[in-house]
Chain length 440, copies 2
């Protein structure tokens, strides 16, 4: 613990879960913050004595833990929330999502959709989000303005997008984003290739080289559907995971979203290459893609984080809710109530989510790390009584219980109120746009 | 529509879903209430003109729909919320749940646990709850005081309970409850037998006869685990469902909780006897019991409602959340995104839940029915924009969005605040008790 008491703020009022491996909950704990970083973690009584005059953020009866990390999303797609549900994937994409995207997604609407996603995620305790979409410069600007941490990529795909006509242009845009945000305190640039079936081998390799050159992560959809696996097996003779490995594209920089249909050989490859996996349980169920073998991946030592995917296939960005669903789902699927216990699930949305995205400076409440934390109130009827804070967060808490949210030392949500965004203006604009889309 | 405008209250401010079969959403709709019943449903503009001077409950930007119906629970077990998670069923029951129940569950703690469950459910939009536990008179008293609707049973099991030493005594207590609540406006008494494996054939038959005599429903756990199915097959030579049918116990009065392991023959029996099924997806996943074939049951015409089960195996009584999980789960399990579409899921927690419990006077917003309704706000970032109110409730809304709750014309929750209970006192007492349990 630091001996200095020149702290900017002391967060008190609950049980602290640092999420450091092996750590015990600190009852009546506190977290001291200075210069945007964690300065000390310990019993509230001791820390209050060390800093009798500093600012105090009272969490009330809360659990204080690292901010949640969403490892896969398409933020602007909040504008398409619920535009088409309960229909098959092909019809959903071809008749609803793609036509609306091509007609309405531009720099302005990407800004609006990203604002909406950011407001939603901050209020729900998500402090870091991955994004894989278009207009990454606009996305980065929105996140930075709101004080939210992001790992942002321009997407590469071998067909024209609302942003670019050719893959070459996309690669150029990617490079520009990597340069612009090379040393931003909140935005970590990244690259993204849509998938092994929609990007050529040559472009996949270029993408991996770009990630290597700039030392950033590479986001990609991988092994999401049986259709994809069969296509790759048919055309390349190998599974999607093996295909990336053969190309030299799979690495510790990879953020592989979905991995629903992976064999035990695929899982070994993911572990061997230290690739990160983003598990997206809600999207995979809603589109009937299947259930990812997460317990097997965790057992094999694969880094697994959790992702919401875009709101068009979820239909929210409620990572706490998705964690709860994942925790329940895999017990039932495997037929064993002990798989993926509560603490493992919480690691998935904190320390392991951060590792998947290549962020070593967040994910735990550790002295010297960035001060990204949330206070989850446990004073409602649905959270009384509390026997175990880990299982309580996973099985009983709701994202609406998130009382305060701090990112890099800045309180961005206080008493459930956004401090950095005008969410009513954003919601009103989103509703206006939906009326136009609906009537078109 | 009624021509009289002597209404007690007009609920306005959103889209009304009556949940009547085939009904369309009423945009800018309203619901008029008189003498605890629905007096009229229609466009707000028209109804406001008819009743210019009456009380108005403004739902803001909400969806107004029938109150939710929880078809299976053990209310007092909220006190055991999170007492033991992530462990196998046998260990969970024998080393945690049963010892604590036998030591701590008595009339006073059942009251406290039921109060906690009632506060939690009212705030989450559940207006009718089934209960299957002990001290049904105490449970009924708590629900009636809080203004909540309940279908309450004393449980029968062939071993001593915290309430009774013998099955004969249990049957006597059941009869007394049936007499006491024979014509209560909120409490519908019921009977309950624990399960086909824990109650003798003779007692199952007595229970069914009692249900017939008093014309009430009979709650029972049925086909929850493979262990139960194998036991019945081994001892009786038939499945649990067929066993009840053979005994003459299965009927339209049956409320069969779980039905996880049911064959196509079992499903035919359930349909033929018009038995009701309570699907409990969260409990079934958490205890790794499996996934109930709900799409097949619905296709076969079985009445299916949704239940939370007790908070010890859930760990909340958040029916809206459980509906969301069920909607997602079955798409993924069946491999078809069109199964159990949003409207079907909403019917499960409203009109069909009411039918499962034998309540024909609730479940839809229909003139003459009891005025049980909820207003679910759709003005947060996570619910903007809204394209379809049915899918919005199922895939995007949260129980914390429940703004107002009315039961039998009484506003029991207003602006997220309980009007009929002191939930802080209840939570404090639940916490105190948990400290005693923890240290024992």
């Amino acid at each position: 613990m630091s001996e200095s008491a020149n702290w900017d703020m002391l967060v008190v009022g609950g049980t602290v879960l640092t999420m450091e491996p092996g750590s015990e909950p600190i009852k009546s704990g506190a977290v001291a913050v200075a210069d945007g970083r964690i300065a000390a973690v310990g019993p509230a009584e001791e820390l209050l004595e060390l800093s009798p005059s500093g600012d105090v953020l009272n969490a009330g009866n809360s659990i204080i833990l690292p901010g949640l990390v969403n490892t896969h999303s398409h933020l602007a797609m909040t504008l398409l929330r619920g535009i088409a549900d309960d229909i098959p994937l092909k019809e959903w994409l071809e008749q609803h999502i793609w036509p609306v995207e091509s007609k309405y997604m531009n720099r302005e609407t990407v800004r609006l959709g990203t604002e909406l996603a950011t407001a939603e995620q901050l209020l729900a305790g998500v402090t870091t989000t991955a994004d894989m979409y278009f207009f990454g410069d606009e996305v980065s600007a929105v996140l930075a303005e709101a004080g939210m941490r992001g790992v942002v990529a321009e997407s590469l795909i071998d067909i024209p997008t609302p942003r670019c006509a050719t893959p070459e242009e996309m690669l150029e845009k990617q490079r520009k984003l990597l340069e612009t945000y090379s040393s931003h305190p909140l935005i970590t640039p990244s690259v993204a290739a849509h998938s092994p079936y929609s990007v050529s081998a040559a472009n996949l390799v270029k993408e991996a080289e770009l990630a290597e050159e700039y030392e950033v992560s590479m986001q990609i959809h991988l092994a999401e559907t049986t259709w994809e696996v069969e296509k790759l097996l048919g055309e390349k003779g190998v599974s999607p995971v093996a295909y990336l490995a053969d190309l030299g594209v799979l690495s510790e920089r990879t953020v592989a979203a979905h991995c629903v249909h992976v064999s035990s050989e695929d899982i070994e490859l993911l572990a061997e290459f230290e690739a990160g996996v983003s598990h997206n349980p809600v999207s995979n169920l809603k589109l009937a893609s299947g259930v990812s073998p997460v317990p097997a991946m965790v057992a094999a030592g694969v880094k697994v984080g959790l992702g919401t995917d875009g709101a068009a296939s979820n239909n929210t960005l409620d990572l706490l809710r998705d964690m709860q669903l994942a925790a329940l789902l895999h017990k039932g699927i495997v037929g064993d109530p002990t798989v993926l216990p509560a603490r493992t699930m919480l690691e998935m949305v904190t320390i392991n989510g951060a590792r998947v995205l290549g962020l070593e400076n967040i994910g735990t409440l550790t002295e010297g790390r960035e001060a990204d934390l949330i206070c989850v109130a446990v004073d409602g009827p649905h959270t009384a009584p509390m026997y175990d804070p880990f299982s309580h967060l996973v099985f009983a808490a709701r994202s609406s219980d998130v009382r305060h949210v701090m990112i890099r030392g800045q309180v961005v949500v206080r008493n459930h109120e956004l401090q950095t965004m005008d969410h009513e203006r954003i919601e009103a604009q989103a509703r206006e746009l939906s009326e136009i889309v609906r009537s078109s």
